[in-house]
Amino acid sequence: MSSAKSGPYKGTRGVEIRCLECLARIDVAPKAKEVECPNCGTTYLIYWPTPDIAKIKGVAQERLP
């Protein structure tokens, strides 16, 4: 899980990824393992190929319209 205790990180400072569902930009907290898109709510599993590049590993929870 991310740094937030109550659920996936939704912060505004960190590394950026693109939501594959809605293409919105998502900030990812350092070392986060999960992140939720603030636009569509899809939650992704995250991994870190380098310390400053986050990548989507897969979908943790889908929010299909």
Binding site: R18, L20, E21, L23, T42, Y44, L45, Y47, P49, T50, I53, K55, I56, K57, G58, V59, E62, L64, P65
Partner: protein, 630 residues
Amino acid sequence: MLHRKVGYIDLSTGEINESSIPERLRRLYLGGRGLNMYLLFNHLEPGTDPLGPGNVLVVGAGLLSGGPVPGGSRTDVAAKSPLTGLLGDTNMGGFFSPELRFAGFDHLVIKGMPEKPVYLWVRDGEIEIRDATHLWGKDTLETPEAIRAELGDEDIKVLCIGAAGENLVKFANVRTGVKNAGGRTGMGCVMGSKKLKAIAVRGTLDLKVKYPEKALEYYWQLQRKILDSKTARLFSVEGSLMQYNPTNTTGILRVKNLGLNRMDDLSLTPDTFLEKYSLGSTACFGCGMHCRHKWQIKDGKYSGLRGEGPEYYTLMALGNVVYNTSWETVLAAQYLVDKIGLDLAEAGNIIGWAMDLYNRGIIDKNDTDDLDLDWNNSSEVLLVLLEKIGNRDGFGNVLADGIRVAAERIGRDSDYYALEVKGLGMVGTDDRAVPSLALGVATSTRGADHLRSRPATDLFGLPEEFTEKLYGFPVSSDYNAYQTKAKLIHYMELLYELVDSLGVCKYHTIFISPTFPQFQEYSKLIYYLTGLELSVDELKRIAERCYTLERLFNYREKKTTRKDDYLPDRYYTEPTPSGVSKTRGKFLDRAKFDEMLDEYYALHGWDQDGLPKTETLVELGLDKEPSHMI
């Protein structure tokens, strides 16, 4: 860079000749894939048996291979394909084509058929045909070592075949080095039919650059631009595997033949590979990205196996298409296909199809030599099937002639599930939701293939004002859209034709990042390295000429027309079951696909049946082909 020769080798008579390459021909076809196509079109008699002595195998170095060019490593091999009966053409990285150029040659034109196995020894302007009886039966890792030992030079570069090529498996590949393979269209089978085990090259001749200072300065400028990018940094770590997670999560991977479009099991993701198997990475000639993984399996059933790769495509063909979720099995299967010289893309496609038939009850254990091809048994049977194909053993022999022939042999409507275009097995992605990708695969001149045109950036959702700057015309940012995508495919076909003719790796182009080199940059590089002044428009015209000649070749050999430019029926009728909302429940609209085809043909100057118009042939100078200039 221009003063290299063409070597002509007749394996039947032992006759060896050579010619220079007129500058006029360079201005028409450049080198690599483009000049290979010219040589093939000119030297192959129409209607030639692909496995007969008349087939012509052309091995070519790109015009810029071996020079100061980011990714200038590629070798192109062409012949009439024994798998499709159409254009056979395959392209690979490594170190072979720079070495061929250092040895004084840009292209080798090989015909005939000797009585016993041979290999070619090319060194500093000389070509020799040598006995290879003692090499026949060796795999693609043993063969180069044996040749280096025999000739006493460990720097010799070798292009060779394995058991699959010797056994005339129609989708046998050619291999060079530990990693690089020219997989598609069965060029290893052509070498096998010619009893040509290998081509060994070693060169110490200077490759003179026209304007060396400017060339080096521009080379470093491009390298910095590439290597400073986030894409290159990621590529250096993950290699082409970096594409797996985004495409899988989006839902454009082909899983269980075409049963699913996403792997929900995430066992095969790159992070697992990096953590458990990677030993670091290495690179091809002229590459700063070093995307080639070195790996080792440290324990378990395949403990001790080592290799290079895997590529994104390895994971698709030996992973999702056959529903194998074991990394160890993917790596062991890759090691096996590399050793025996089998095209993993075609092998994965045909095994995925066989498993699909088995799981639908169309074939059973009576057909499969008692093998259980249940999807959940994939990791148990994958290597067995690959070995059987390579050795033409039992059910493997049914599959070894390719999917069209196998479907005819099996019957029982199995052809409906056979995914191919023009006889070449389908790519590992599921393109039902992305019309641009689908059009590129359907129209490719070597059959189902993404590397003739794939506009990967179409998936990035780039704004139209950005694409207008990138391509010179706006492209819809919606990857579900049909409009504007024919123009995109036409553009990318020309770019990749150029890149393949220059001998440049596509990972150094806008294939993977819109900031990477394309026409403008290559126009400058060509000038600095060769002195040839070719504008962007002239380069596009050259690429159009080369691509249209490929189209003409296919019509000449097999009367291919519009009817051959479609994906299999399932892509137009069966919706995708999973993925994000833009890829879920999608299939191709045939009427809209037809509109794309109409526009695509018009852009090429072809008629509505996909045949080049007379005025197009005249305008491109193709009305005089074959012209026999060399």
